[in-house]
Amino acid sequence: MKPFRLSRRACLRGAGVAIALPFLEIMQPPKAAAQAANPLRFLCVYSPNGFYMPQWTPAGNGGASYTLSTLLSPLEPYKADFNVITGLGNYTASISNIFGGSHSRSCGSLLTQCPIASPDVSKDIQNGVSLDQIIAGTVGKQTRFASMEVGTHASSTTGNCEDSFSCAYNNNISWSGPTTPQVKQVNPLDIFNRFFKDLPTMGAPMPTENKDALYQKSILDVVLQHSEALKGKLGKTDRAKLEEYLTAVREVEMRIARLVDGSVAGHECNVPAPPKDSSAMTLPFQEHLDTLSDLIALAFQCDITRVGTYMFEHSFVDTRSFSFLPGVTGRHHEITHSDNASDQEVKINTFYVQRFAYLLSKLKAATEGDSSVLDNSIVYFTSEFGNAHLHDMRNVPMVVAGKAGGKFKTGQHIVYPLAPGDGAGVDGRGNRDDVQLARLHLTTLHAFDMMQPSFGHDEKGAPMATTTLSELSA
């Protein structure tokens, strides 16, 4: 048994005060802890609708001595802790049989680097497995939860998706299977209850047996056993659908089994009071985002999970008004396609970069031994497009924060020149010869000692990446 030893302390955020108080403070991990004291984490933070690239890309040809751009300036305090990468392409996003759906294709393929099935040629949903879920498949076995998927928006719920593409692509960057998006949790209280509520409290005697967990595991065992017979009666497509559910059940069953036998890891940490309930989505946007950042930092620090994806908002389906920002009237997607609103676009972009800066502050403040959680993480900050107005898939904005436990060199602006020639694909926005996002993903996998030979595939089945990005290696 490697129990959590937790203490609870009040937090003003729980009482609704939206000021930046220390949400958590780490205690020294137990010396006796058998697991690696500083596990490696992965987090992808997605910001929707691209960025205004003229103010995003730092000037110059890259290197360690560069100046942050206007949009990236909120990240100045952490400049030594991240790399800005310019010139990464997402060619897979441009592979399509039909015009339209480019937000969906870019978002859906961001972490899978697989072509997204066009609605006229295939089943309703068809993608690949995303980077975070590949990592979670291995490192997730060591923690209470394999991964954490959060965001501020559950579903588009307008009845309208982009050009007949399923909203699943636009709403999810995390995919555990080609047809299985890892849907997000959006209510901070719901996330808190799921990840932190049942942790044993410091000082309380450890129960000799976790009967509730045993019962839950037994329920799922019975369901799995009974479902085997059902599987044999179904046609191919239905069986795949059932298998999707049974896989999900198995994942939960294994997770609970680890609680029953006490084989999960965990770090000592302080768990604050629960955050506010926002099931009706009533939290102000900034408070909502920052609370989610607090919860991610806490989950990483407590080693409840080591893998996460975090979607600030959805692209394309505009339901959030940004009129809370001075000088902005309207919605993000509409603004990116307006000819005379780059000032408003920059204001929205700046807001998002500031929220990412807040997240970095939390990860950096979470110390473990001589390092921080940020040092022992790989954190992407990215979007589905570069220039959103043009739906550019050739220069995807990318900040990679964290030293990957010492494996990554940080503090650089890495520039990959775009390949000569125009874009390809149905809308001419991708190019196979650009340095691909898939190479970054492969680099990340290798940092986790998952030495896959390649990452992603194109329309012909050829791998999107077989080599890593050496500039990142420490």
């Binding site: 039909i98 015009f99 339209g100 480019s102 089943k123 949903i125 394999a146 998927e149 559950a154 307008t158 009845g159 309208n160 998706c161 982009e162 050009d163 007949s164 399923s166 699943a168 709403n171 047809t179 299985t180 998006p181 849907v183 949790q185 009967k211 019962y215 839950q216 329920i219 019975v222 369901v223 009974h226 479902s227 059902l230 044999g232 009666k233 179904l234 046609g235 191919k236 497509t237 239905d238 659908k241 059932l242 999707e244 559910y245 049974l246 999900a248 994942e251 939960v252 339901t319 008004s321 009129s323 009237t329 309207g330 396609h337 307006s338 000819d339 005379n340 107005h389 739906h391 809308d427």
Partner: protein
């Protein structure tokens, strides 16, 4: 053979029936029900609900194993245990994805580990709440828990209703081991039975509408119990009641007459409000209305309370159409609407002052109001915050009312630069822009925009206007691809009702929702035929609903190899 496609169906049904229990005890019983229905189908599938022949080209298509969505889950739990617990809210189920305009498409309803965790927690919470409620407990446990046979009896009865089919005793054996487990851990039989009940509610037989494919690549008729579930989730978004189960067991749902009888009964049940609500929020897309934020500076008369008022107007307006008290052609051409004083005043209805807070049916000046295209809900949800959009309105009509959505716009279209100086109406500005742009733009806008231009008398919040800024509104035009001219909303709504695509589109929307799948080209002859009968027989929606419910795609299933 008059119906070549159905001959395969008959063969398959007979074969399925002859094998008797071979598909397994659980579905075998239902299989023989289908066999019983086979001969009936030979005669009755040839006729629709009104006695008119169904198109001989009708093919059933394939429905993917459908998970209950949040609404269906909540309603099913309500009808199963008799408590309206709404677990999707209390347990915070992840949001369901939509496909083709509705939230019950089997292909896009996915399940992740988060969902399955929520289902487990919900099942346990539901059982706990039900056993703690004396009334609910008495219905769930009808025997004396101290009797050795009681857990099996109670569990069998729950499983029959939860899985919507007869359940064989041996299927429940693994579930009953949970009773023993609880005992070994020092808990009571009731705790153990609760675990078993939670397992029944976590089973895919509960969470999915299961339709097995015992033989590959044939068309088979649904079993009575499968048919009952399709009907109840179509009209109630919930599980079948005992009358439906009984009709299924008696083989009555294998015949068009039996289905028609049930549909009539079901539409009269209060639970059918779920069907009306789906038509309001999903077909008419008022689900998007809550995000509408008209600019208060430009539209000072706008009040956020109008959102709810407009949705309520549409809800009350659709109810008599759904019940058959009003013809579906009223959807566009009604001479009345429903309003309270706030909404009537906002619309400028003549008798607004006489109204109170309650919504009442009011007659309208047909040159200005009447039908959904002249109601606030549609007019607002298709507008930008600062201006109306003829393009969005035209696209909505093409998509939701004519089922002919335009192709997607190119990826790099600039938004309309409303700050750029232009003298004239919005319409003139759009027409000039599209004329000057490439044919990729103008070709589509020539199809999409005209019907939107006909509604130029309504601003972004749905108020009437004669002037667009300093310029008089021009609401004239010609319907694309026809020589039909119009001047204003009243003309264009008449033209839409007269378009055969409209009637077929209503049939399509019901079919997509009823089946939980997208329709394909193979379904089009059937939809055209249903639409034709629907419009010729007086636009009675209950009748169309019956025809859809007893159509080949709703009664048959195209099986797949395993």
């Amino acid at each position: 053979m008059r119906f070549p496609k159905l001959s395969a169906a008959l063969l398959a049904t007979v074969a399925f029936g002859c094998e008797g229990g071979s598909p397994g005890a659980n579905h075998g019983a239902a299989g023989s029900t289908a066999a019983g229905g086979a001969s009936a189908v030979g005669g009755s599938a040839a006729t629709g609900g009104t006695g008119t022949p169904i198109s001989p080209d009708a093919v059933p298509g394939r429905v993917t194993l459908r998970r209950l969505n949040a609404r269906e889950y909540d309603n099913t739990i309500r009808d199963l245990v008799g408590l309206d617990l709404k677990p999707s809210m209390s347990q915070q189920f992840p949001a369901d994805e939509w496909g083709d305009g509705f939230d019950n498409d089997g292909d896009v309803l996915t399940t992740s580990s988060l969902s399955s965790e929520k289902y487990l927690n919900a099942a346990q919470a539901v059982v706990k709440a039900a056993l703690a409620d004396a009334g609910a407990r008495a219905k769930l446990i009808t025997c004396n828990i101290a009797d050795a046979a009681c857990p099996a009896t109670a569990l069998g009865e729950l499983a029959r209703r939860a899985w919507r089919r007869p359940v064989a005793a041996d299927e429940l054996a693994p579930y009953l081991t949970l009773v023993d487990l609880a005992k070994t851990k020092g808990d009571t039989d009731e705790v153990g039975l609760g675990l078993a009940m939670a397992a029944v509610l976590t089973s895919p037989d509960f969470l999915f509408l299961v339709e097995p494919d015992p033989m590959p690549n044939v068309v088979r008729q649904l079993t009575g119990f499968e048919q009952a579930a399709r009907l109840s989730y179509f009209l109630w978004s919930s599980m079948p009641d005992e009358a439906l189960f009984q009709a299924a067991a008696q083989g009555k749902l294998g015949q068009v007459a039996g289905i028609t009888e049930q549909v009539q009964r079901m539409l009269g049940d209060p639970k059918a409000s779920a069907f009306g609500e789906v038509l309001v929020s999903e077909w008419m897309q008022t689900v998007a209305l809550k995000y509408a934020e008209p600019n208060a500076t430009i539209f000072p008369n706008w009040k956020p309370t109008l959102r709810d008022a407009m949705e309520q107007e549409l809800r009350l307006f659709l109810a008599p159409i759904v019940s058959g008290a009003a013809p579906t052609s009223d959807l566009l051409g009604a001479t009345y609407t429903y309003a309270n004083q706030e909404l009537a005043t906002f619309y400028g209805l003549p008798n607004a002052a006489s109204l109170g807070d309650q919504f009442t049916k009011v007659d309208v000046d047909v040159s200005r109001r009447g039908g959904v295209l002249r109601q606030g809900s549609f007019l607002v949800l298709t507008s930008h915050p600062d201006r109306n959009s003829p393009t969005r309105r035209g696209k909505w009509i093409l998509d939701r009312l004519l089922c002919s959505p335009p192709p997607p716009p190119p990826a790099t279209v600039p938004a309309l630069d409303t700050n750029a100086p232009f003298e004239g109406t919005l319409r003139q500005r759009l027409e000039q822009l599209h004329k000057n742009a490439s044919t990729t733009c103008s070709g589509c806008h020539a199809i999409v925009d005209p019907m939107g231009f006909a509604l130029e008398n309504y601003d972004a919040v749905g108020q009437w206007r004669d002037m667009d800024g300093k310029y008089p509104v021009d609401a004239t035009g010609t319907l694309p691809g026809t020589s039909v001219t119009f001047n204003g909303a009243a003309d264009v709504t008449k033209a839409i009702v007269a378009d055969p695509r409209f009637a077929a589109c209503v049939a399509k929307q019901l079919m997509v929702f009823g089946l939980g799948r997208k329709v394909t080209d193979a379904d089009k002859p059937l939809l055209n035929s249903l639409g034709d009968q629907f419009s010729k027989n007086g636009w009675k929606l209950p009748e169309l609903t019956q025809m859809v419910a007893s159509s080949v795609p709703m009664m048959f299933r195209q099986t797949e190899a395993q």
